[in-house]
Amino acid sequence: MTKDVSMEARNLVKHFPLHLGFLKTMLSKDIPYVHAVDGVSFKIRRQEIFGLVGESGCGKTTTGRLLLRLVEPTAGEVFFKDVEVTAIDLEREMRKLRRRMQIIFQDPYESLNPRMSVFDIVAEPLRIQNVTESEDELRDRVAQALEDLDLNPPDEFMYRFPHELSGGQRQRVAIGRAFVLRPEFLVADEPVSMLDVSIRSEVLRLLMSLIERYNSSFLYITHDIALARHMCNRIGVMYLGKIVEKGSTDKLIMEPLHPYTEALIAAVPVPDPTARRTKVVIKGEVPSAINPPPGCRFHTRCPYVMPICSKEEPELVEIQDRYLACHKYNG
């Protein structure tokens, strides 16, 4: 593997068994599965910000968690630098690795323990990983982390509890917790979707400056393709557990090839009344991931559907400057 790849996912699959009642489980021959992630592969290069974009339920969050092994994959491999994350058996080994990869969750109202002070929240990873030698050093590291996030002066924030903070401050604490170990790889799962717009850009700015400072590579999960455009170097668009298009941000946004990417971009409201674009609003909603449609999973809503689409599943192949899974461009 090349040196500049930081994180690689190969054919990741995650199926969640559906919980029926006891009787139904006993009687039915096969248990239905939710096909949350179905064969997803991508590489994240060093110092790169890779965006995963898609509607809710497309499997982007599950993919992020699979990378950190917060959920166990059904199949597929994850490589971090030259370590195969999915092959590690020992919890101790895994813990060592977690020091180098962290996650920021979506909702700072739920991801922070209400009974822990800001100091304890940010210090917890350091304590678990045993990285500091003295209480003083621990304190300094926490103070530094808070200062990095403009929670100034840190002494004032350290002994507050989450309920005394605003949403933006809470999310900053969550970011501080993720960065306090100076990880090489980070997953951010919709880190600003719960925040007000005016606060959002400030949090994103801080996030970007930290990524730059620690040379981390980054997986940014979002449903907002306009935001992904501002944040990411490359974007992968997911639909029902699969990546349908993947490429550099500028190319993908300026010239989307997959009909789903096109629709996703067309649906984004534009904050400019003078720039009304012609709109193709696609019909219907995402089908259930329990029985995903055969063939191309998007064919039920695709405006360019062809007979082959419902029969054969398109492969993700390299076309021009990107990867694409669509029959329209095959052949």
Binding site: S198, E202, I225, I253, L264, A267, P271, E285, V286
Partner: protein, 308 residues
């Protein structure tokens, strides 16, 4: 309108004025807690017990709603003249009644029709928002989020109102479904000659659907007028910052600006202009004197000392 609390009055809506003409769509925008929803609830007088309307008037066709008795508001105004789609209304549908029944109930309660006619009207309403009439007997859990949102929109239209207030109608929906719902709303506006008041924190949604805009900050209107005019030339520093805080999918990539600090506590709002602690262009006068509305152009008002 203020909320009375143990610690004093929360000045949730303080000297807010706007007009909605026929077939207008007004967007009310601002951060959470800036008084958007409270303004709407004041119009419909759906206020909690501790709310006090201190002063001001709400005029609908020459009649002052503030002076009206509760009973009359209920009988004559709500649903029939002004109706509302509440925030998260799609999750407030009764789970054990079919959606049709829930709409029919509203019609029967407010209008003097028999149940057969009410059912017919319900079917028409559903078709109007793009749901097949056969789905009238479906239960909320059988419908998707986008469809539920359309059902509550249909419900708001049940008694042919003139004005519909929609409070964050698409926040819980995905972009594609959001675009579908907004399209329905726009079509209804021209078909039924409706006026909309759209409450949202998402400015880009307003630019897609509305023709007029009021930007609120900390219980006050900061800027108000024709949408295109405000967009072309935002005058208030808050509007300016808010507009450039949005990432756009078209045009050149630009640096996202941000507004430092946090919205103020409305129990003790800052003296003078309420935005001055966060304003990059704050002057001495901003800390002392409250600005008054200035007519910058025809159909464009701004409340800021920079223009007085």
């Amino acid at each position: 309108m203020y909320y009375q609390t143990i610690r004093g009055y929360v000045r949730a809506v303080d000297d807010v004025s706007f007009k909605v003409g026929k077939e207008d769509a007004l967007g009310l925008a601002g951060e959470s807690g800036c008084g958007k929803t409270s303004s709407a609830l004041t119009i419909l007088r759906l206020l909690p017990w501790n709310a006090r309307i201190i002063d001001g008037s709400i005029t609908l066709d020459g009649e002052d709603l503030v002076k009206m008795r509760d009973k009359d508001i209920r009988k004559k105004i709500r649903w029939k003249r002004i109706s509302m789609v509440f925030q998260g209304a799609m999750n407030a549908l009764h789970p054990t009644y079919s959606v049709g029944k829930q709409i029919t109930e509203a019609i029967l309660l407010h209008e003097d029709v028999d149940s057969k006619e009410a059912v017919e009207r319900t079917e028409k309403l559903l078709e109007l928002v793009g749901i097949e009439a056969e789905k009238i007997n479906r239960f909320p859990h059988e419908l998707s989020g986008g469809m539920k949102q359309r059902v509550v929109t249909a419900m708001a239209l049940a008694c042919n109102p003139d004005i519909v207030i929609a409070d964050e109608p698409t926040t819980a929906l995905d972009v594609i479904v959001q675009a579908q719902v907004l399209k329905v709303m726009k079509e209804l506006q021209s078909k039924l000659k409706l006026s909309w008041i759209l409450i949202t924190h998402d400015l880009s949604m307003i630019t897609e659907t509305c023709n007029r805009l009021a930007i609120m900050y900390a219980g006050k209107v900061a800027e108000y007028g024709d949408l295109a005019a405000i967009y072309k030339e935002p005058l208030h520093p808050y509007t300016e910052r808010l507009l450039s805080a949005f990432p756009s999918i078209v045009g050149p990539k630009s640096e996202l600006s941000s507004i430092p600090g946090f919205p103020p506590d409305l129990l003790v709002p800052p003296p003078g202009c309420r935005f001055h602690p966060r304003c990059p262009k704050a002057m001495d006068i901003c800390r002392k004197k409250e600005p008054v509305p200035v007519k910058a152009k025809k159909d464009h008002e701004v409340i800021c000392h920079l223009y007085t």
